[in-house]
Subunit: 187 residues, 2 copies
DNA sequence: TCCGTTGTCTAGCACTGCTAGAATCCGACT
DNA sequence: AGTCGGATTCTAGCAGTGCTAGACAACGGA
């Protein structure tokens, strides 16, 4: 029994190693640099080992993304009585601190189902946190719909800034403007 | 002279052919399907011909994107006295009708410089149209900054919807909510 | 008619994700 | 203790990618 247990433990360790290595590599050099060969080399195994843990590259991205959702939820919940402005700033801050993970979560093909009955819990949890924060100022607008809009607005700021479409200097002011409008428009 | 002129004409025609073919292929099967080999095959030339017109694949994407900005400007200017809601709807409509071109413009690496002195005119023009529309309701907020926020919000809606992160059914209602808040918040 | 330039193509490089099948290792049983 | 069997890992390879060097052909000008 103990033998099998040890093997499973080792296997789980390697699973983690793959994910943390993929994430490090992605944050350091971008997801394009996360090739199966380089990843295999870094964990000091051959390529096929990756495929005994994940169906393929996309599933690795998806696994990193999933971790990201859990961390995002934690980041947004850090201050339990945060204002809308606080949550918005926390959201953008998370994206800035973990750009590659953010890409995995929202921009890259990760194979994760979203608005779907099969949506994994971490995704659902993250949205729930946003719902709690933004739903409070939805006024007579549908809370879910309003949260989606607020989320999309934040996401747009993040992606356009990251893609070099918006100069990063005034990010804080943009968040301010956005939050002002979102909150101020409550009936 | 006429010989050289004819050659230049033919060359320009092929240039256009490459771009329209790339665009068609991208809209039909996504940019991943636009490989240099397939593109070359479709225009009935060999691969290296592409490189006599463009530095590489990325420059082709950039050229399609540039066309997209011109068309986007046209789409947003179609109704010269459009309301903010009208412009917002036109923006999202353009993205929905031309998803691949929209990707080239905002999501993919296109090599186009944005907030930069070297920003091509079509990009600048497109932003100016948005500035005219959204700047009018900026209130005491900086017009440029406010327009950036509004644009980012629309962009977020578009990308999250296209990536399957938001169910597409209520897009119109989301635009409505967004515009309400943006306009309603004016001091 | 021949030459030279111009333009195009064939063939190839180094890389990608992914996989079949060989090789190896190691626990278990006689 | 020695051998077997099954799980595990690796080597080697496929088909595809973007891109390019160098061979080749086509064609206008002398």
């Amino acid at each position: 029994m103990t033998v099998q247990q040890r093997k499973e433990r080792e296997r789980a360790g390697r699973h983690r190693l793959i994910l943390t290595t993929a994430r490090e590599l992605a944050e350091a050099e971008g997801w394009d640099a996360v090739t199966t060969r380089r990843l295999a080399q870094r964990i000091e195994y051959s390529q096929p080992v990756l495929y005994s843990h994940f169906r393929g590259r996309e599933e690795i991205v998806g696994a990193v993304a999933l971790e990201g959702f859990t961390e995002l939820t934690a980041a947004l919940t850090a201050d339990p009585h945060a204002s809308v402005a606080g949550v918005a700033a926390a959201y953008v801050g998370f994206a800035e601190r973990n750009p590659a993970v953010y890409d995995a979560m929202f921009s890259l093909a990760s194979g994760l189902p979203f608005a779907d009955e099969a949506t994994p819990a971490p995704l659902h949890d993250a949205f729930t946190v946003l719902l709690d924060a933004f739903g409070a100022v939805a006024g007579d607008t549908d809370r879910g719909l309003f949260t989606e809009v607020a989320w999309a607005a934040l996401h747009g700021l993040v992606t356009l800034t990251r893609a070099g479409r918006l100069p990063p200097e005034h990010t804080a002011r943009r968040i301010e403007v956005l939050v002002d409008r979102l909150v101020g428009g409550a009936a």
